[in-house]
């Protein structure tokens, strides 16, 4: 710990109706990796936007090397040596790697000629520094997600960033790529770069960070504390004010119930091979795997978005050839709650009623396709009430609800449509921990009521909280199925072994 590079003092920020940040402090030591944690809505993104000049600083002050600074736009922050790698990719897909890295330095004036050769030579230096073996002339859209991210890091470094903010950098990386990234971050740290690491993955934070700042409801829950002596439970306690635990629910066994959905040697056009899966009535079957293992893709094939190329699907004992989502819903009572509720699940600008009712329109549409709001309300209201969606009225715009309530609406939609089998994909992405607990109880209650649930999640505690049995998928194949005995350590070890296959002895 040698000196402070950036310090934020008593920073505040208000949006209409919301106090996003209140007297927040942050002290970043030179050459360290600093975790910035908090639940969704705790104020992390607002703080990042203030540090990087996206929002103007109006309350409090920022000190860079002890001197007050004011960033009027992102460019000013970049010029001061504050770089950021955002969660979403910020590259121009059709531009070359070199041009993306050098995007803010294409020339002194807008009419300057861009010297591609010089750009590539300069970019190469930074790619080499990251040991990234990519031709700077390649267009970015040809790279993998991990490489794109490294290109963004190269870009930030090439701007002489002394402080590098990374928002969920490992979200789309495989474990191997994550390890590579961490090695790199350690090296940057030794070179004196300060890294602010924002992540929901607490294990990673514990592994790599030197100090931590936690935000809760727009305030500091802790400010720049050393990480030594901190454990996962401590971090969780700081984030939500209580320790995370697997609720002490009874283990359930539904394997004697009738079979609701059965896959027999199913292959799909997306690359799944020989998938055997059995889902019983009222059972919660977890489908675990890393990002990219092919779980959501399997769900999308099952609901008829992509064709199957082999094998047999049986629903309630009847062979089912599902050709479209409409057929999945209307003939087989099969619904899918997308992991991407903003893009695939909900029409954010429409009302709660319209969103929750969208799946029943075809059943209720009368002569000439007329829909009566009263009828829809009748169908939708029980589902909305059962899920305890907190909304001032059914006419409320869904986009204005909290993430948790949005998620409830997307589940309510299928309940209203009377599905018997529900595929739920990453139910708690972007939802704070308190709402998550409600959501878990809800899913459990649904299953108790006889709905069969195929649960896809990458969140291990969530999986062990909810699932009755856990099937593990890796590389578009199933590697095994475990009965969940709700012992976190044993189950997570078992799942990991199934993912890593023969490497299990080394772990």
């Amino acid at each position: 710990m040698s000196g402070v590079v950036l310090q934020a003092r008593a920073i505040g920020k208000s949006f209409p109706g919301v106090r996003a940040l209140d007297k927040v402090d942050l002290t970043l030591a030179k050459g360290s990796i600093h975790a910035l944690l908090g639940e969704n809505g705790a104020g992390k993104s607002t703080l990042i936007k203030l540090l990087t000049g996206v929002h103007r600083l109006e309350e409090g002050e920022l000190l860079l090397d002890g001197k007050p600074v004011q960033f009027d736009d992102p460019h000013a922050a970049i010029a001061a040596g504050i770089g950021v790698v955002h969660q979403e990719r910020n590259l121009i897909p059709r531009f070359s790697v070199a041009e993306n890295i050098m995007l803010e330095r294409l020339g002194p004036s807008v009419l300057s000629r861009v010297d591609q050769g010089a750009l590539q030579a300069e970019a190469k230096r930074w790619l080499d520094l990251l040991e990234l073996d990519v031709d700077p002339a390649t267009s970015v859209m040809r790279l993998s997600a991990a490489k794109m991210q490294l290109v963004e890091i190269a870009k930030a470094l090439s701007l002489r960033s002394r402080v590098l903010l990374m928002d969920e950098p490992t979200a789309s990386l495989t474990p191997h790529e994550t390890e590579h990234l961490f090695t790199l971050l350690q090296r940057l740290k030794r070179d004196g770069v300060t890294i602010v690491f924002v992540s929901h993955k607490l294990e990673e934070v514990l592994q790599i960070c030197d100090s931590v700042t936690v935000l809760r409801d727009g305030r500091n829950a802790c400010q720049s504390q050393p990480m030594t002596g901190m454990g996962r439970q401590d971090l969780v306690r700081l984030m939500i004010g209580r320790a995370e635990q697997i609720p002490a629910w009874e283990a359930r066994d539904r394997t004697t119930a009738p079979v609701a959905l059965q896959l027999d040697k199913v292959s799909t056009s997306l690359g799944h091979r020989d998938i055997d899966l059995t889902l019983h009535r009222g059972e919660i079957l977890g489908l675990y795997g890393l990002v990219g293992a092919g779980r959501s893709e399997l769900a999308k094939c099952l609901i008829g978005l992509f064709p199957l190329t082999g094998g047999k699907v049986t629903i309630d004992g009847q062979p089912a050839a599902i050709g479209s989502v409409a057929e999945a819903l209307n003939r087989f009572g099969l619904g899918y709650v997308s992991e991407d509720r903003k893009q695939e699940g909900l029409v954010l600008a429409h009302s709660v009623l319209d969103n929750a009712g969208i799946a029943v329109w075809s059943k209720l549409a009368g002569f000439l396709g007329f829909l009566k709001n009263g009828q829809i309300r009748e169908r939708v209201l029980p589902a909305i009430e059962r899920l305890e969606v907190k909304t001032p009225s059914l006419a409320q715009q869904v986009g204005l609800l909290s993430g948790g309530n949005q998620q409830k609406v997307s589940v309510a939609k299928w309940l209203a449509a009377g599905v018997r089998i529900l595929i739920i994909d990453e139910p708690s992405v972007g939802i704070d921990i308190k709402t998550k607990a409600y959501l878990h109880e809800l899913i459990r209650t649904l299953a108790d009521g006889g709905t069969s649930i195929l649960l896809i999640t990458s969140d291990m505690p969530e999986m062990i909280t909810l699932a009755d049995r856990i099937a593990v998928m890796d590389g578009y194949r199933l590697t095994g199925t475990l009965v969940n005995d709700r012992d976190y350590r044993r189950m997570s070890q078992g799942i990991m072994n199934l993912i890593h296959g023969e490497e299990q002895d080394a772990a």
Partner: protein, 324 residues
């Protein structure tokens, strides 16, 4: 050899170029007058004017927007150009500069309003289309200006070299200029970057405001050049100039592989798109087919081109997914 052909097939210009070659050969075989010096001259005049019009739209497509007012700016500039010369006796070179300045100002106004308000360019240019057209009709009272000097008429109707009309010269300069700008100059890369991913461009410190204003300014300037060229070719300042530019201005860039969402355009492709449209128009005349059919064919052509572009995108996506 096969890989070279494969590479060529993936470029924007390959498809339209193949269409052009086949069309020229087939039509030339059926109707030899198609390849007569006179017909080539007529064809090249139309291509020259239409290329400038298409470029005016292409530069806005590059930034991921639309400019519905290209024709209205061109029309206003056309009658201003002719009117200045007839009513005030302004010498042609000065009238040209002033006319281009009017187009530039119109484009800059579009860009400024779009960038400042954040309202979509579709809406803003829909409004300015009506505004410019109204000015045009107010000034002309729907009557053409006839007093176009002989030098201007000659520029629009005589040849520079063999069957190549003088009009090809400004079109070629505009084409090369825009290509150079998009491929080599910082502002051009900024326009494509904003079109490709505005959020990323902004976070890289690229000024969306500046880039948008530049793109619309260029679009206005090109539309003005198109207006002046049409006056030279028609030899009068018609108030209706520009009314029929809209479809062509989108068709040519799209046939040339432009992505309407922004970030990718091709000058060579657009030029070939213009040639395709010109050949079709011309051959329908040659074969005495009802000129209204041109509109139908043009519509079908746009659909076909968009379909091809989409198919290519899907193929790239598939390949990328397969590789990862």
């Amino acid at each position: 050899m096969q890989t070279m052909l494969g590479k060529a097939a993936n470029t924007d210009w390959f498809g339209p170029l193949a269409v052009v070659i086949v069309a020229v050969v087939v039509i030339g075989a059926i109707e030899p007058t198609f390849l007569s010096a006179f017909n080539i001259q007529v064809l090249l005049s139309a291509i020259a004017v239409n290329l400038v019009i298409a470029l005016a739209q292409m530069i806005i497509i590059a930034i991921g927007q639309m400019n519905l007012s290209v024709g209205a700016i061109g029309g206003l500039v056309a009658i201003a150009f002719a009117g200045m010369m007839e009513v005030w006796g302004v010498p042609a070179p000065l009238a040209l500069v002033l006319a281009l300045a009017i187009g530039l100002a119109g484009g800059l106004a579009n860009g400024f309003i779009v960038a400042k308000t954040g309202i979509s360019a579709f809406i803003i240019t829909l409004a300015s289309l009506s505004f410019f057209k109204g000015l045009n009709l107010g000034i002309t009272e729907a009557q053409p200006f006839y007093g176009v000097p002989d030098a201007v008429k000659a520029f629009g109707n005589t040849n520079m070299l063999g069957p190549i009309p003088w009009l090809v010269l400004p079109a070629a300069i505009a084409g090369l200029g825009i290509w150079y700008l998009l491929a080599k100059l910082r502002i051009g890369r900024q326009i494509l970057a904003v079109g490709g991913n505005p959020h990323a461009a902004e976070l890289s410190g690229i000024s969306i405001f500046q880039t948008t204003v530049w793109a619309h300014g260029l679009s206005g300037l090109l539309a003005a050049l198109g207006g002046v060229m049409v006056v030279a070719r028609l030899q009068i300042g018609q108030p209706s100039i520009g009314d029929d530019w809209l479809i062509l201005s989108f068709a040519a860039p799209v046939i040339g592989g432009a992505v309407l969402a922004g970030g990718h355009v091709s000058v060579a492709g657009t030029a070939l798109g213009v040639v395709v449209v010109a050949i079709i128009t011309q051959s329908l005349v040659l074969f005495h087919i009802d000129p209204f059919v041109v509109q139908v064919v043009l519509g079908a052509l746009i659909l076909w081109a968009v379909g091809i572009n989409r198919w290519r995108e899907v193929r790239v996506e598939r390949r990328l997914r397969g590789a990862s």
